[in-house]
Symmetry: C2
Subunit: 130 residues, 2 copies
Amino acid sequence: MVCERNTIQKEKIFKYLSSVETHPTAETVFNEVRKEIPSITLATVYRNLNKLAEQGCVHRLELNGEYHFDGRQGMHQHGVCRKCGKIIDFIDSEISKNALKKINSADFEAEDVTIIYSGVCKECKYTGRN
Amino acid sequence: MVCERNTIQKEKIFKYLSSVETHPTAETVFNEVRKEIPSITLATVYRNLNKLAEQGCVHRLELNGEYHFDGRQGMHQHGVCRKCGKIIDFIDSEISKNALKKINSADFEAEDVTIIYSGVCKECKYTGRN
DNA sequence: CCTTTAAATAATAATCGTTATTAAATAGTA
DNA sequence: TACTATTTAATAACGATTATTATTTAAAGG
């Protein structure tokens, strides 16, 4: 079975990721989950996050020099603000499906596609932050 | 001007990236460029690569837990083999243009899009490697 | 040219995110 | 209940990247 969650630790980690709309790092997940399981270590969090990602239960994004984890189900895209680093979701499975459809190479069998927009978020645009 | 290259070090780094079709890490660039400038250090290579990326002269990709640098000009996409990690180029600016066109959010002003396919390369498919 | 000033360099150390190791604990199964 | 494989906590180690600093170099104006 794909999304087995056979330890308390793994289950709490998955539940937390599923409960938020953000894209936390392992450190953030650790700080949340340790409220419920004080003895848990960062290494355990990493191990379970990576396993969940391997199993396809969560997404792992490489952004801003670190891994971010994303519990949202279904095809979606991300936007990353080049000023503040904020990550937001775009939900339009057509975009991803179209991009996948158009790749047809003898050298590579595409199974999935990651689409990341870079630009400026609303807050940074208004404040003129940089 | 966008792509100023005002030191020997920066120029050689840019020339090397422009001369290859691969997506080398800073370490690889360092090992190549030091053949011509033996005194150069890895930190200098990083600094110049990041500056070139900021200036839009090269692309910086976050893949397999490290940065890869890409001197190819123009919109293109990448495929990453989930078995061996190999990175290949796809050149179809329409895919990227379409993906950019479809994003129209009040919360985010998209300037650029990164499209990364994951899948299996020809070699890994034939050999059944994992 | 020569001087000045800001920026880049080499050398090195430090930092940060992530993974490896290991003995003890736990889950799953017979 | 007993057995076996997996997972855990604790800790150390690793690898990629960035910071520091004294020295050198580039660039622009006089």
